[in-house]
């Protein structure tokens, strides 16, 4: 089908002037052809994105302006009422706060630990590649595998953590069923899960800093600490920014870990935004509210992504 499209055949070579004319005609014909090729090449992607991204977004927005029945059909138009109700609801505010705590902690700790690992692995030491390999190891661990590993450690009776706690003479802790601890546990697991990736990124960034910059700095009188703050950090700041953005975004989209570890509990302490959408829609059948929540989530993520694009465009050259 593609082969049978009109294709321009190069004409036999003529004298110079003639050639130029053919070239012009040809490029004109090509341009005309481009339209068909564009439809053909881009059509499938545009169709898919329309059906599974744009339409659902508009539909979600639409639903958020209505009351819905238990099948998710809109019934009564109520304008922005869903939004005002939601933003006044204490439990939603709590969810927002919990999500904020979660994403910021995850982002900050991931960056700190990732950078620490990378900085150490970047040292010239004997056997350093052994440590490098260990640090990349968590890269392959998916959400559910992480959850299994950490659930076992957090297990109140069998888990290693409580064994340590007891060994130090404290009472065992119900990690996943005590509000504060549950959030901590989820954050710790997420950071651990991100470490391999982040390490790899930071390590690559550190290695990409030209060695001569450090040589120049040390000759001109900078201590290694000064070099870290005034060369290393500025040089890897684009990577730090990038890591911050992707951990923030993936934090806002976190679902699997919550579902596997806490189910949003205890008492909604880890009921993050996506989990709320899922629960409200598919367990409580409150599609209007879930749609409203989805729109708010989308706005937050869109803002972060947008800021990222803008800043990146500016910061490419430092």
């Amino acid at each position: 089908m593609i082969e049978s499209l009109p294709s321009t055949k190069q004409q036999p070579k003529g004298p110079e002037a003639n050639n130029e004319v053919t070239a012009k005609v040809k490029s004109f014909e090509l341009k005309k052809n481009d339209k068909y090729y564009a439809w053909l090449f881009l059509g499938p992607s545009i169709l898919l994105l329309t059906v599974f991204v744009f339409f659902p977004m508009l539909r979600t927005l639409y639903l958020s302006l209505f009351l819905t029945d238990t099948f998710g059909n809109p019934t009564v138009f109520i304008g922005l009422k869903n939004y005002t109700t939601l933003l006044k609801s204490a439990s939603y505010i709590a969810s927002l706060k919990a999500t904020g705590t979660y994403v910021i902690s995850v982002s900050v700790f991931t960056i700190i630990f990732g950078l620490l690992l990378a900085a150490l692995a970047n040292q010239k030491l004997r056997g350093i590649s052994f440590f490098r390999n260990i640090f990349t190891a968590t890269m392959g661990v998916s959400v559910s595998v992480s959850a299994v590993f950490w659930l076992f450690m957090f297990n109140p009776s069998l888990g290693i953590l409580n064994k340590v706690v007891v060994a130090f003479g404290f009472h065992p802790i119900n990690w996943l069923t005590t509000p504060g601890w549950a959030m901590t546990a989820v954050i710790a697991t997420t950071v651990w899960m991100h470490l391999g990736f982040t390490f790899l990124l930071f390590f690559g960034a550190l290695q990409a800093v030209p060695k001569s910059l450090y040589d120049a700095a040390s000759v001109s009188g900078a201590t290694s600490r000064y070099q870290f703050w005034h060369i290393t950090l500025p040089m890897i700041s684009p990577t730090m920014f990038f890591v911050a953005v992707i951990t923030l975004i993936s934090g806002f989209k976190s679902f699997g870990l919550i579902d596997l570890m806490t189910g949003g509990g205890p008492t909604n302490a880890t009921n993050l935004l996506v989990y709320r959408v899922y629960k409200d829609a598919f367990m409580n059948g409150n599609y209007a509210q879930a749609s409203t929540e989805a729109i708010i989530l989308t706005i937050i993520i869109a803002i972060i992504t947008f800021v990222q694009f803008k800043l990146l465009a500016k910061r490419v050259n430092y």
Partner: protein, 282 residues
């Protein structure tokens, strides 16, 4: 005097290195411990685990693995994920590269507008759109079917964006030379652009594969039968069924899931890095 100075320098270095090694060891322990503990328990007899004797107990056994392979559908889950991820990856490579080609090498009305539209979709999280999407696939009668885990993910805005960046690096001269040789767009795409962009295509493949492999929410919503379940949801199933006291078997299943991913990642490491760095710079 020189000598004492030398000794001082050497001493300082040894001290510094000791601190570094100590830190490395502690961090390596933290990173690897949850992992190692999981793998270790997968080799322990269930009795030992239930009693809380993690070391010094009886001997190691493969029993948990035997149980995982024979009593659960873990192999089926793996196969499902493999099929889904492979299909999604192949589709991404094809549709994203075609789309990116159009944005770079074709001249048509609304090109820039369409590109911004595609860029815009990168801001929209799929997780926030599951409600209408669920309704759509239900209406299309795709529920509880392989295709429901593939069709919505046949293309990716990120993939188009990334490949567009790559294709833009291809020298314009190549396009002009191929015009002179009379290559059609399709031929140029297939014979020049694709081979030229191998590395980026591999990067995208690695991403797409991992992304599909790690799908969790969508399969959970749209499939109900055990024989369709991909691994991530399979593990959830194993872990929440009443077998959940059989930690050894669950850990063995996790190990079975994680090993192939580790292998893929160690092979694809290089591509991930370049892809991520590209993302951070461009």
């Amino acid at each position: 005097m020189e000598n004492s100075m030398m000794k001082q320098v050497a001493k300082k270095k040894i001290l510094g290195n000791t601190v570094k090694y100590l830190l490395l060891a502690i961090l390596a322990f933290i990173v690897i411990f949850p992992f190692a503990l999981g793998i270790w328990t997968s080799f322990l007899p269930s009795m030992d685990i239930a009693k809380g004797t993690l070391w010094g107990g009886g001997q190691l056994t493969l029993h948990n693995y035997v149980t995982a392979f024979t009593q659960t559908k873990i192999l089926r889950y793996l196969l499902n994920s493999l099929v889904i991820a492979t299909l999604v990856t192949a589709a991404h490579l094809f549709f994203c590269s075609l789309g990116a080609y159009a944005f770079v090498f074709l001249d048509f009305k609304y090109r820039d507008f369409l590109f911004y539209v595609v860029l815009g979709t990168m801001m929209l999280p799929f997780e926030a759109e599951v409600i209408p999407n669920f309704a759509t696939v239900k209406m299309l009668g795709l529920l509880n079917h392989y295709s429901v885990m593939v069709i919505p993910f046949l293309t990716s805005a990120f993939g188009i964006f990334m490949l567009r960046q790559t294709f833009k690096q291809i020298p314009r001269d190549l396009k002009e030379a191929s015009d002179v040789d009379g290559l059609s767009h399709w031929q140029f795409y297939w014979k020049v652009v694709m081979p030229y962009s191998k590395i980026s295509l591999c990067t995208l493949a690695a991403y797409s594969f991992l992304g599909a492999w790690n799908q969790y929410l969508w399969p959970m919503l749209t499939t109900f039968s055990d024989h369709l379940r991909p691994v991530q949801d399979g593990l959830r199933q194993l872990q929440s069924e009443e077998t959940f006291n059989d930690w050894g078997m669950v850990q063995a299943s996790a190990a079975i899931v994680v090993v192939p991913t580790l292998i893929v990642l160690y092979i694809g490491q290089h591509y991930f890095k370049s892809g991520l760095n590209e993302g951070s710079v461009k």
